[in-house]
Symmetry: C2
Subunit: 249 residues, 2 copies
Amino acid sequence: MARILCIANQKGGVGKTSTAINLSAGIAKSGQSTLLIDLDPQCNATSGFGHAPADRHPLVLENPVRESVLATNIENLQVLPGSRNFRDVDSLATGSTTHQKILRQHLSSAGAVFDFIVIDCPPSLGEMTRTALAASTEVLMPIQCEYFAMEGLTQMIEVIREVMNSEQPTRLEFSGILLTMYDHQYELTHEVDEEVREFFGDIVFDAVIPRDINVAEASSHGVSVLDYAPRSRGARGYVELSMEILEHV
Amino acid sequence: MARILCIANQKGGVGKTSTAINLSAGIAKSGQSTLLIDLDPQCNATSGFGHAPADRHPLVLENPVRESVLATNIENLQVLPGSRNFRDVDSLATGSTTHQKILRQHLSSAGAVFDFIVIDCPPSLGEMTRTALAASTEVLMPIQCEYFAMEGLTQMIEVIREVMNSEQPTRLEFSGILLTMYDHQYELTHEVDEEVREFFGDIVFDAVIPRDINVAEASSHGVSVLDYAPRSRGARGYVELSMEILEHV
Ligand SMILES: Nc1ncnc2c1ncn2[C@@H]1O[C@H](COP(=O)(O)OP(=O)(O)OP(=O)(O)O)[C@@H](O)[C@H]1O
Ligand SMILES: Nc1ncnc2c1ncn2[C@@H]1O[C@H](COP(=O)(O)OP(=O)(O)OP(=O)(O)O)[C@@H](O)[C@H]1O
Ligand SMILES: [Mg+2]
Ligand SMILES: [Mg+2]
């Protein structure tokens, strides 16, 4: 069965999409067949690989997921595009039991075909993120080393625990907390780094993603930073993260 | 009647809260009595002035808003705290007509007392943001000069036009688009700046907020950047923005 990795944090702009894109690229380049699922109505993970959003969200349709996946420039990586269709977003976001069932069915049929599934979530703790968490095997939380980032973390952890303890059978466990846009020159960065490692201990990844303009530029070229600037510090950070995740079984 | 300024953008981490905090500080320091309303369940605008989130969201309660406002270190500025109470957040986010009515009543009673009201929204285009837009007189959209920032802008503009043209009487007009975390050294910043000004013309503010660590640090000290580092480039950007907004009548 596939490992289903949910990238979630209700705080906006912390690097969820950039992590979903570059981590799925790193995992695919190591030989694992990987599917990136875009659950965010902004569809940034879809456009990050140069595709346009779909008219209808593939996860609310009856057709099998393999009919909707799109290729990327990486052999082992395919993308299930997001959609800005408000009706579909609404039905995913209000989580009716029929939609949750269709979503689970789609994820388990995709899980039979791919080794890894990576899900990019919107910046919210609503039903869409909760449904994705409930269907995942692990959750990765990117955080920036800034004041507001710490604020929402405890709330996020509460929701994850709720999903883990809910009556529906779930295999969800913590994959880890990832420090992103790490900028060595600032005192604030080091203060938050210390506080997070003290508070959360081992679940903080050793790999850290530095602030690197190549990560932002790669998205406007429709490729991951591993292809856009392979020797950059941003690319090296994501390669280290992919290895740390692949070693964790 | 008060000017009600809604700070909105579904893209996360673009500087909505930082703008809500520092703009309301700039407006209050110029002598206008100002209320900052925190509509985001993350409650960053509340903690940005050193307060804890409220147990119940003041906008869903019957009590008059003036019983829930909190003081800040600025004489003319008070804050209506946000709440992480999921039930209240849900009722605000699903926008039932009763809640919309209570919200409108609270805003109009606050409007009789304050010269300016500034509303910080969550990173979403859901009912919460739409209700806030419908009750506002103007909308300000912060955007980062990065690739993903441009993507969601047209969708955001669509929703704003929908609210402007909806059957409920609304006075909503564009206040403007604000470029935040502006970093002169990057090509990407200048490309997006050019594209936005070409596409949106006059509604882009002349004032630009530079990337300045003082803005991030100020929040961890519970004050606006105008008090934390008054001679910093971030503070000067927000003073210029306040003046540009006050001149626009
Ligand atoms: N390591 C990095 N260095 C520099 N810029 C980065 C880095 N990671 C992400 N960015 C840029 O920061 C912005 C926010 O990142 P991203 O969109 O991935 O965050 P997000 O959490 O997915 O946002 P949202 O909450 O809107 O979904 C983007 O413009 C992205 O290109
Ligand atoms: N001009 C700036 N220079 C440097 N850092 C900034 C600037 N403006 C905001 N920041 C920092 O960037 C992060 C994101 O900003 P902020 O939280 O204001 O965005 P937001 O749009 O309100 O996010 P959300 O979508 O989660 O509500 C914060 O840690 C903030 O301190
Ligand atoms: Mg994203
Ligand atoms: Mg905010």
